[in-house]
Symmetry: C2
Subunit: 207 residues, 2 copies
């Protein structure tokens, strides 16, 4: 394990490894990179190199110790420390993300904000506040991530308000392209991109 910035590709594969390892029967104590690679359709050397970056290695002939590997990946991905997030949004989208099960990944979606809350809590019991309490809440609590699910035309405004509250990162679920200062991290989920990629694969698959 060294301290270089991990590549996005590695970061994308680690949760996949994690899910796979966790899906193995309880009785499994060891897992080899070779088998994991075969099961996931990846090269074995690739998996081994990835694991070398997050753990301190497996044992020849035995592979990696399952328990330790889970711990190592989770530690590397920082799943053990909790980051607090809030959601600002229109009703449906907001509800969904408020109640989304980010299982064991260290995200606490603490509250939702919307213009006119129709209920004081979401389905899973998370509090929903009127939008004008956003600033006070963020300052009173240690909120690091702001999730945006409003429509494209209101997204930049929400983003600016969150940035002004001192948020560290914006997780944008709106289709808008948002502009943030350099010290704020931004990540956009974009179903158009996924869709384009899916259709492209379909097209190529038909030939």
């Amino acid at each position: 394990m060294n301290n270089k910035v991990p590549s996005p590709r590695l970061l994308a594969r680690l949760p996949i490894y994690l899910r796979y390892i966790k899906s193995l029967p309880e009785s499994t104590t060891n897992i080899s990179a070779t088998k994991m690679a075969a099961a996931l359709g990846l090269g074995d050397v690739l998996v081994r190199k990835d694991l070398a970056k997050v753990s301190d290695g497996g044992r020849r002939k035995l592979g990696y110790i399952r328990e330790d590997l889970i711990k190592d990946i989770e530690t590397f991905l920082d799943f053990n420390s909790v980051t607090t997030a809030i959601v600002v949004g229109e009703d449906e989208g907001k509800m969904l993300l408020l109640d989304y099960r980010f299982d064991d990944s260290g995200l606490d979606v603490a509250a939702g904000f919307t213009l006119n809350p129709s209920a004081p809590v979401s389905k899973s019991g998370k509090p929903i506040y009127p939008l004008d309490q956003l600033e006070d809440y963020c300052r009173a609590h240690c909120v690091h991530i702001g999730m945006i699910t409003v429509s494209a035309d209101r997204a930049q405004n929400m983003c600016d308000r969150l940035v002004a509250c001192g948020i560290h990162a914006i997780w944008n679920f709106s289709p808008a392209h948002l502009i943030v200062p350099k010290n704020v991290v931004i990540r956009s989920e974009n179903l158009s991109i996924s869709l384009a990629s899916l259709r492209m694969q379909m097209r190529n698959n038909e030939k």
Copy 2:
């Protein structure tokens, strides 16, 4: 424009270009790769090479004709032909995707299926059928994409049913790892991966 399989990275950038070009004021008739690159924080040669792959080139000194470029990107991404999709899922998730605005990207989310529909139509008026009508519907209509939003433990079963109906692609919004035959395309949206990547960026940003 040639006929090689486009790289996923190109595919991810094209919708970003598209969104940017469309966001320009109505009066804009030309746009240069140089300016676009600067606005989006990309290298200008990269943008120019990307555009060369989808259009038949810009004009020196003037750049690209906006209108044509939009058309070229949309054609390349196949946004003009319509693909029909259906959603199988639990209530909230299903509703959201049924009503999601895939603006102009050529996806028709035609219907939703769930075990016990609480209403005959979604908010935006899309029909919702009981799950046992899935097979009949898929065979009667020309459904190409099956979107899965059920919980992890039921996802593989839904996936198998959809595959048996002759679906061409599975768009998986459940956290499960799904197995499909070679002739079916699969794409999984995975918020854990996004979250891991976001937190990693945050961590590196703080240093």
